[in-house]
């Protein structure tokens, strides 16, 4: 199919809206959460220094990592959009950005609860916390930008550029403690050496939040497709 340089293009002339198997994905996600929560609250050993509050780690860190994954998907799809102008890349990026914002909000809301227990304060402008706050602001701007540009191709291209630039903040977040120290503990990716049981629960957390991400992404894409079809029907 020839690519029209002035508008977003579809794979087919009139792509059918297919409802994803949400019952399957939601069921798998629910089962994973039913396994994760008792593991995080009872199976994982209590941290000697931080006490039980450290158990927040098992939802805080997977929310952060899967948030990064969501913005990674935005990054890849944004490059593909700029290269091809295909609508599907914009659809995936838009849905993934919104879901990524929810995961990052979870990080920003659960982190201070741990901080209050561990540091005695809810928030500090530590380099890593500041970089996460900036990431959240960038992708909130991305979502706002989608509301303010009407022409689909311009909207898709502007958002693609913001999606690519915003992703550059993620390596800064991962390396922030190594580069600038600060209050936040080192990333377990950088530090390594986690106890075996903690690692099992953390991996279970990553699996669970990956399933949640897939479920939310598929649902959001389906809802967006229904919304666009309805708008096109009204406009016709």
């Amino acid at each position: 199919m020839a690519v029209d340089a002035d508008r977003l293009t579809d794979e087919d002339e009139a792509p059918a809206i297919r409802k994803p198997n949400l019952k399957l994905w939601a069921g798998l996600t629910t089962l994973a959460f039913l396994a994760l929560i008792p593991m995080a609250l009872f199976y994982a050993p209590e941290d000697v220094a931080q006490g039980a509050a450290q158990r927040i780690f098992y939802i805080h860190v997977p929310s952060a990592w899967i948030g990064f994954l969501a913005f990674g998907v935005v990054f890849v799809c944004s490059i593909a959009l700029l290269a091809t102008s295909r609508r599907k890349w914009d659809d995936i990026a838009a849905a993934s950005a919104e879901v990524g914002v929810i995961f990052t909000l979870a990080v920003v809301l659960t982190g201070p609860i741990w901080a209050k227990a561990s540091w005695g304060i809810w928030w500090t402008w530590d380099p890593k916390l500041t970089a996460v706050f900036i990431l959240l602001c960038i992708y909130l701007s991305y979502l706002a930008l989608r509301q303010y540009v009407d022409e689909p191709l311009r909207r898709a291209r502007f958002c693609a550029v913001l999606g690519i630039v915003g992703f550059l903040d993620i390596p800064i977040i991962v390396m922030a403690v190594s580069w600038w120290r600060g209050e936040h503990p080192s990333s377990v990716l950088v530090k390594g050496g986690m106890p075996h049981k903690d690692l099992i629960v953390l991996m279970m957390g990553n699996l669970t939040f990956t399933l949640l991400y897939i479920t939310l992404l598929k649902t959001r894409m389906y809802v967006n497709a229904l919304k666009r079809a309805k708008q096109e029907e009204i406009a016709a």
Partner: protein
Amino acid sequence: MNETPMTVTYEVWGYLVGAALYGTYIARLLIQMHRLERGDDVGPR
């Protein structure tokens, strides 16, 4: 007899806040989906 007051510990607050956030988003998505499938709502883009 001294009774220990009921307190919700930090980790429980963490899980409750997470559940409230994700739960609210999921509920909003499902309501939007249901209304669009019925054909009676077009919200903002």
